[in-house]
Structure formats: structure tokens, C-alpha cells
Symmetry: C2
Subunit: 149 residues, 2 copies
DNA sequence: AGAATTTACTTGTGTTTTGCAAGTGATCTG
DNA sequence: CAGATCACTTGCAAAACACAAGTAAATTCT
């Protein structure tokens, strides 16, 4: 039945959050929007993770339905669609930062230890900067690609 | 083949973290261990999310392989196996807390606003308490079940 | 001691989700 | 107008998942 609301597994906020973006791809799209400054379908496709086109389309749809991202067709080019984070989306910044710190600390990631240490130490400053960029629609990547890998 | 390393999609720490626990169930098991004080297969099964036995077995196996949890058979009862968080596992506390805050703030969760506000404000204190409980093997739930829902 | 119960799983089956390749239509560029 | 670009959709095979049932070892009951 279309329109049937999915039932929640439990009232736990963690469970609810995972129902929305608990999969291998959703948060990577959010990451691309949040720290890499990507905005279009093709850019996400080429971001290096190897997501398939149908899955990407499906995740964009779900993230939009969850009001984490919004789609806006570009005026200057009718083919393009720009995706951007909503307020709910940018509020995922702390989650993203902690994921980054955990991943960098516990797995052999490409980030130098100094960068990780700084991020963990200046948590609030990093988050403020992410939020500022979002407000100002400043899409320069937070981490240069050669450092971020 | 067990022990065969999966190839990584990218060197990004976020991507690496999501490869390990980017699904609907893994972090719920970590949550049960971290804040609810659950430790056995049956307890996880009955935690209210409705995970199937084969999936639970599979996730426990994967989390153990990722060294996020460890299994130790109980001495006093040869049938039981206790699972516990490793150091890598307890280091997921900040991720868990931010997920909790996001979920509670943005979705209609069962938590009262006052509890959320306190958690967000006393972040460091909450994390210290979680870590202390882990060190002391204190398994009393962080949140009473009637509040945590 | 034997029977029933508990515990931690495994196995089988059908459904859903995913990954891959190819294709489509609208728009833009040369 | 021809070809390229962009954001997708479609078809199909493979993998993951959900559900129900079953199993083996350890423990408790009688």
C-alpha cells in the first residue's frame, strides 16, 4: 500500500535516527554536502565511494523525504539540480564529526594524527565553522582533498 | 574466507566507520551495551527493536570481528555468553550521544526535552559517566527504561 | 537419573534490497 | 542540428534480510 506509514521500532531516539540514515550511503551524501562542498547528482556519483545511480537516486529521495536535504533546480542550467542541507541536515554535523574522529582514531585512515587531534580538541570551533559555511552557502571544502583523501 | 579483508571504498574515516557499523542494527546493539546494561543474546533479542535471531548472530559476529565488542562465556552458567564493549566500542560513546541528541531533537522521541537539554549541555559529564560505568563494569542502565522508553 | 527448560545459536524459505549495466528524456553546447 | 551533459529510470542477477522452525549443549526440575 502506498502511503502506508512505516511503523517505528521503538521510541528510542537512536533507533529513530538510524531508521532515517542508518545505512552505508546516506551519511556519505551528507558528508559530501557538509565538508566537501558537493551539490549535484554527478558530483556525488564521482565522489569516489562507488555508489550506483539507482541507489543514489533512492537515497536522495529518502533524505529529502526526511527533510535532511532539499533539492533546488539551478536557474542558470535547467538540467542541473542542486542539493543542499536543511537545518535538520546541518544539525548532523556533530554526528559526522564524531564519526570522523572515531574512524580516524581507530582505523588506518588517510588523515594525519595532527589533524584528528586538532578536530577533537577544537570540536566547537570546527562545528561553528561548518555551520558558518552552511549559513553563508560557502562551498569551499572544509578539508582540502589531498589531506582529506 | 574469514579474516579476508574487505576492500575499502575510500580512505575517508567516515566511510571506514560506516563500513563497520553503517546499518540499521549494529549501533542498537552498542546502545544496549552502553546505556541499557544488556549483555546476552536473549536480552538483545528482547530489547524491543525486533531483530531476528540470525541477524543478531551475524551482527554480534561482525562487531566482534571489528573488535568493538568481545564475547566471554559466563563461568557460573555454561549456556550464557556475555558480550561487552571493548575500548574501541566504548569510544563510540560520543557518536551514540550525538545520535541520541539529534534523534531526540528532530523526531518525536519519547525523551522529555529537559533530559535532552541536560545531555547536550553536560556532554562531557555524560560521556565521563558512560566511560566510568564501562571501566567499573557497572551495568545499571544509564537511563531508567521508563524514561528512555 | 530422566524430563523439561533455557540459551545461543543454525537452517530453510521467501521477500526485499542492492549492485551493475544499459537506456531515456530534457537541456545545453558547438 | 548534432553531439554532449545531466538526472535520473529500468531490468536483472546476486546478496541481504525477515520469519519460522530446528538443534545442541548446559542447567534446572522432579
Amino acid at each position: 500500500m502506498p502511503g502506508t506509514p512505516k511503523q517505528r521500532r521503538s521510541g528510542c531516539p537512536v533507533s529513530i535516527a538510524l531508521e532515517v540514515f542508518g545505512d552505508r550511503w546516506s551519511l556519505l551524501i551528507v558528508r559530501d554536502l557538509m565538508v566537501r562542498g558537493l551539490r549535484t547528482f554527478t558530483e556525488f556519483l564521482e565522489s569516489g565511494e562507488g555508489i550506483a545511480t539507482n541507489i543514489l537516486a533512492n537515497r536522495l529521495e529518502k533524505l529529502e523525504a526526511a527533510r535532511i536535504i532539499a533539492r533546488e533546480p539551478e536557474e542558470s542550467d535547467g538540467r542541473k539540480v542542486n542539493y543542499r542541507l536543511t537545518e535538520r541536515g546541518i544539525d548532523l554535523a556533530p554526528v559526522m564529526l564524531e564519526l570522523l574522529i572515531w574512524g580516524a582514531r581507530h582505523e588506518e585512515a588517510g588523515l594525519p594524527c595532527s589533524v584528528i587531534a586538532r578536530m577533537a580538541k577544537d570540536r566547537e570551533a570546527v562545528l561553528a565553522e561548518v555551520r558558518r559555511r552552511w549559513r553563508d552557502r560557502d562551498t569551499t571544502p572544509l578539508l582540502p582533498r589531498d589531506i582529506a583523501e
